[in-house]
């Protein structure tokens, strides 16, 4: 085996500068993705105002949680893929990128040198019957699935159920409603995720909207509960 440490792998198997959860919801004519903009170094909030959503082209956004450096590498790889497609005059569509990244993540896992990221691919898939929204989720180990709504990291524990309840049985979930669900999600995330921040972005890609990422007004939340916390027992 490689390395001088007695047969241990010397691949980086732990992340350094990380981002926490990403949450995404499909609405009637597109997909909305939420991620906050803080970079954590361990438990410290190391850098602020760093985006975690990468606009690939007009139709695709890739958002990630996990290691920033690993994602930069991925971004580079995606860029190369985009220009490959551009050579034959094609635009990369979300499902193609999803399949590509799934294989890529799986391959690096097999080499025991994983990309420490969970990826969310949001996009608008053009087809003959007018197109459809696309939302894919890929984990570090190459487990991939498509969904109507999804969350990564600790938000997958905290928020999937609330979001499922919000989106269930609602035939027409429009962009405004989707974004308001995501804003609420940020508020609920900051209460229980110590790496989450209240400064965040929402990326939107849809039938009529070209892919774009918007910085949002920070959410303060309701901290009146804190007053009940003077306690002796």
């Amino acid at each position: 085996m490689d390395g001088k440490y007695g047969g241990y792998h010397t691949n980086t198997l732990n992340p350094t500068c990380t981002g926490t959860s990403v949450i995404a919801v499909v609405y009637d004519e597109g997909v909305a993705v939420m991620s906050d903009t803080v970079v954590s170094y361990g438990k410290s909030a190391r850098y602020k105002n760093v985006t975690r959503q990468y606009k690939v082209n007009d139709r695709v956004i890739v958002a990630f949680s996990g290691d920033h450096a690993d994602f930069h590498t991925l971004q580079n790889i995606i860029e190369r893929q985009v220009s490959k497609w551009a050579v034959v005059g094609q635009k990369l569509n979300p499902s193609a990128l999803y399949a590509f990244l799934t294989s890529l993540m799986y391959q690096s896992r097999c080499k025991m040198n994983p990309f420490w990221n969970t990826l969310i691919i949001a996009g608008w898939e053009d087809n003959e019957d007018g197109g459809k929204p696309f939302l894919g989720h890929i984990t570090q180990k190459g487990v991939a699935f498509e969904a109507k709504h999804t969350a990564t990291g600790i938000a997958s524990h905290l928020l999937t159920q609330v979001i499922e309840d919000e989106t269930r049985d609602k035939t027409a979930l429009n962009r405004a409603k989707a974004e308001s669900i995501l804003r609420r999600a940020v508020e609920l995330a900051i209460y229980h995720d110590c790496l989450a921040d209240n400064e965040f972005e929402i990326g939107v890609v849809g039938k009529t909207e070209k892919a774009s990422v918007h910085t949002q007004k920070p959410i303060i939340g309701d901290w009146s509960i804190a007053e009940t916390n003077c306690q002796y027992e």
């Binding site: 499922e164 209460y191 229980h192």
Partner: protein
């Protein structure tokens, strides 16, 4: 022979010795594990438990699933434990530890009530629990929500196995606590009515039971007010029902099983119990 005697003595000593656990098998078990023996599996209540304080009382609730690994060991497990008439505890963690800890709390508080002639306070239950748990450094896997009403008001405390405790207006514990606590954060308000509070507890439990594999089946609630304690349950939410019944009939005809051997045993009826 002397060695055997002292060994037996040691075993007996442990059985007779009244205080604390017996750790004498620790090294042996480690040795057996190193020889490849699998350790026994513990029943653990991967759980959702939720409690909320409201204007003048406390509402506590729990799901009713106990799991052993990925198998549901008990569908109707009671996780809301009685401590005193106006103090209850919801438990998550190792089933056996929870049973014993809550029994211990219940009996010591009853003794206290008899000795003092007053209703026990919630803080007393908390203190006994946390001191006991802290003594065992987290090895007693009991995560409790202790709630109740005493003459000084309604209280809710969150107790971890290692002895950390917190007073809280609302709390959730167990593997489904992530899903449940988000619902609580979303909809909790200070000074709710009893109905609002019990609805909120139910919705939070639903979230836990729905999103968490280790929680489900049905929920139990206890509403504690200064006047009375009402127990409600089991309540089965819609998504915990079988959407479609079993469609075939699985009755075996007589003679389906091969008879290998027959033996007649004559007996007299000495006593019979009337079952009707």
């Amino acid at each position: 022979m002397a060695a055997v005697d002292s060994f037996q003595n040691g075993v007996l000593q442990c059985e007779i010795e009244p205080n604390g656990f017996d750790f004498s098998n620790c090294t042996r078990n480690c040795a057996l594990a190193r020889m490849g023996a699998a350790p026994p599996r513990l029943n653990s209540t991967g759980t959702t438990i939720v409690a909320v304080t409201y204007k003048d009382g406390v509402v506590m609730g729990a799901d009713s699933r106990a799991t052993a690994g990925n198998i549901i060991a008990d569908k109707h497990c009671e996780k809301v434990h009685y401590i005193t008439d106006s103090i209850y505890a919801c438990g998550a963690g190792t089933a056996a530890d929870l049973d014993q800890v809550t029994k211990m709390l219940s009996s010591s508080l009853r003794l206290l009530e008899l000795n003092t002639g007053r209703k026990a306070r919630v803080i007393t239950a908390l203190r006994i629990a946390k001191q006991h748990l802290f003594n065992y450094m987290g090895y007693i896997g009991a995560y409790l929500l202790i709630g109740g009403v005493d003459p000084t008001g309604p209280y809710l405390y969150d107790v971890s196995a290692n002895g950390v405790t917190m007073a809280r207006p609302f709390a959730a514990q167990g593997s489904g606590s992530y899903a449940a606590i988000t619902v609580l954060e979303k909809d909790f308000k200070i000074g709710m009515t009893e109905e609002e509070a019990s609805n909120l507890v139910q919705v939070a439990l639903h979230a836990g039971m729905h999103g968490d594999n280790a929680s489900g089946n049905s929920l139990n609630l206890v509403v504690i007010t200064p006047e009375k304690t009402i127990f409600r349950g089991p309540i089965v939410p819609d998504f915990c029902n079988k959407p479609e019944p079993i469609e075939s009939d699985y009755k075996f005809k007589t003679g389906s099983t091969t008879v290998l051997k027959k033996k007649e045993i004559k007996f007299d009826i000495v006593e019979s119990m009337d079952m009707h």
